[in-house]
Symmetry: C2
Subunit: 252 residues, 2 copies
């Protein structure tokens, strides 16, 4: 759909600069909770971001998603109340030191962000038989999450922060937003311009959890095999990229 | 992590050209089944694509994913056999005309693509209590799908096609790849350079299903509300972008 020929070397590869832009966007995307500005998001920018979401892959081209765009303060206040209840419940699941830390964390920007978007999944969008969904009916939810990630990355490119809030009782969003019981709310997103993007994920900076070295998460040919005859080069490259953190994956 | 300052106007917004690159990449990403080339994918490119996946958002910074990289022809042949069995089952779910069409579609490139990647979700990665996962335990799967979409978009930027194959009996991949029963295979991806990317999704070109106009999928303030006092501008922008398909969302 996009013909930004200036950014291409040929129709199928991106230029080095365009590729660097895509990686930059992926690596600087953040789950934003604290840095939202009240500035309104224009119709044009919102439309572009929604269009990016709609161009996600979907199982059997099912396009099972809907996008419920919320600006009303009253609606956001009801959602925020539901969040507070669920957060109080979740806090008790952690042991004392961790619970104290949990209670200090800012976990959402429902009222700070001028726009909220609830992304839902309609499991019946394409009838009972869907190509690719026969053996795993959850694949429609996977498609919906792909749309969320597309939206998130397009938003980052526009300078918009996005925060995904998942601390709600299961039926709270359905009740507040009038979503039928057969439709699953998958993501509740806070969207708005930000004063800045953090250098690293907020939970990492807060000492909640660390980033796992990628090479510990990659297996070769079979589960649990952390090396094989051709894996050394990949592991070395991964370590190299991690050591140069901040220099960019495109630096060599 | 990436500091491609040349593509930035300031640390928080992308330049117009960089933004166009991100959108171009999102809109030209395809689920590839038929255009794979046998050319090997370098360690460097594979590492970059995996690193992009690893920088997906995750609930409670859980990073529940693993990446099982497969090049072995023997392993891919076993996976392909499992696909053929499941495809034969799925074909019977469609009515006669549609079943004929289904049987003619090429649905995977397991043996054509030189690299296959199985992306899995470890539901116990961060212990029993995970921030943001208390009220919906499936959020770890959502995080894993975000990693898949990051991988897919990074691959597109490298000129690599990706095809997600979901036509397998539930335990087939676990048996073939030695994945423990407690770990869920979420995506089985065929990855390789391509002769070209299709202009539109393959299932759309094949007449299997059409793309839904986005404005029919967007609601405002409450479920089912297709307009409100501030929605006209967004709907108009969406229609405008759709009418200019091929001109690009950044054209105005």
């Amino acid at each position: 759909m996009e013909r930004a020929t200036s950014v291409l070397t040929d129709p199928y590869s991106l230029s080095e600069q365009a590729r660097a832009a895509v990686y930059h966007n992926i690596f600087t995307r953040r789950d934003v909770r604290s840095q939202f500005l009240p500035d309104q998001v224009s119709d044009l920018v919102l439309s572009r971001v929604l269009m990016a979401a709609h161009h996600a892959p979907s199982v059997g081209f099912m396009q099972p998603w809907n996008f419920l765009v919320i600006r009303s303060k009253a609606v956001r206040q009801r959602v925020h109340s539901a969040f507070l209840l669920a957060r109080a419940e979740e806090a008790t699941r952690f042991e004392s030191g961790k619970e104290q830390q949990y209670r200090r964390l800012k976990l959402e920007g429902i009222l700070d962000a001028p726009v909220n978007i609830c992304v839902t999944c309609d499991h019946e969008r394409a009838g009972p038989a869907v190509l690719g969904r026969t053996h795993n009916s959850t694949t429609d939810v996977y498609s919906t999450v792909c749309a969320v990630q597309n939206l998130w990355l397009a938003a980052r490119a526009e300078g918009l922060g996005v925060g995904w809030v998942s601390i709600f009782k299961p039926t709270a969003l359905q009740q507040i937003l009038g979503i039928p019981a057969t439709i699953s709310p998958i993501a509740y997103l806070c969207v708005g311009f930000v004063s800045y993007f953090l250098e690293k994920p907020e939970l990492e900076l807060a000492g909640w959890r660390s980033r796992t070295p990628l090479e510990k998460l990659v297996f070769f040919e079979q589960w649990g095999q952390d090396h094989c005859e051709w894996s050394d080069g990949i592991v070395q490259r991964i370590r190299h990229i991690q050591e140069r953190e901040g220099q960019g994956v495109m630096a060599e």
